[in-house]
Subunit: 176 residues, 2 copies
Amino acid sequence: MDTMQAILSRKSYRGTYLKDPVPREDLVAIMEAGLAAPSGCNKQTTSLIAVDDPRILARVKAVIDPPKAETAPAMICVLTKRMIAYRNRCYATQDYAAAIENMLLAIEALGYASCWYEGHLTDTDRIGRKMADVLGVPQDMELVCMLPVGRPAESRKGPEKLPFSERAWFNGYGQA
Amino acid sequence: MDTMQAILSRKSYRGTYLKDPVPREDLVAIMEAGLAAPSGCNKQTTSLIAVDDPRILARVKAVIDPPKAETAPAMICVLTKRMIAYRNRCYATQDYAAAIENMLLAIEALGYASCWYEGHLTDTDRIGRKMADVLGVPQDMELVCMLPVGRPAESRKGPEKLPFSERAWFNGYGQA
């Protein structure tokens, strides 16, 4: 799929998924896209775990309460290590966000649907840590996001967005 | 350009740029790609200013010390508004990082080069605020990143990255 088409057609999908398993080669391609994202000072703070084994997937989903993307046949969990990149600065959030966006575009280009689930996992009930424990993730890494992967069973509709002229300008704030 | 190709071939470029101006339609397409990124709770916290007027560009570049991307014929400045999206959570960093990654891919797909300059602008000498002042950006928005845009005059070489097997696994941490 053309790059601009993937960027413009990508939408967050919160509907049900078809049962078709996601081939390993597609999950690898999606994760390669994620790892190809830049990272501050090339610290490569982002790591990934794809879950496609139905038994492990069921155990991971069991700790997501309330449930999200229950019907997805696979998911990719995003891990971050909040290390210092430069002086006292850490760019781990930027790093994993860029990796997630790359993966959402690869998912779109391969004909799957997904949604960026982050706040649900990193909230005070620490669902991300519970998922990380199921997957054996060390304590110095945080599981900050999960991306379901599967074929959408329903039509997708993105949220309303502000017009270009209210968010983008030329040569000065607010200038057309 | 194919989506996966753009994702895998994108590299940070820190060399010199050709003088060719960047057509407005390309800058618009790049900014549309940025605005198409998702944002936490659809708060659309990211705004953009493209700078292609040579006089304004010179004034903006004059406050970037030490200089970066001096020869680029255009740049896109990324603004963020750190508003609460959900409970006490702000996802503005994730929002602008996803927008930046989309723009870097659009830049790649259109045959230009760029680099994610963030730490240089947001460090203690507050270069981002000086750039924002040149561009009339209100105090409640931060200029957190600039992306030069132009045709590269030199060859590009990306940094070495860890192999897939050290950053991506299946069904459990560290599992092939």
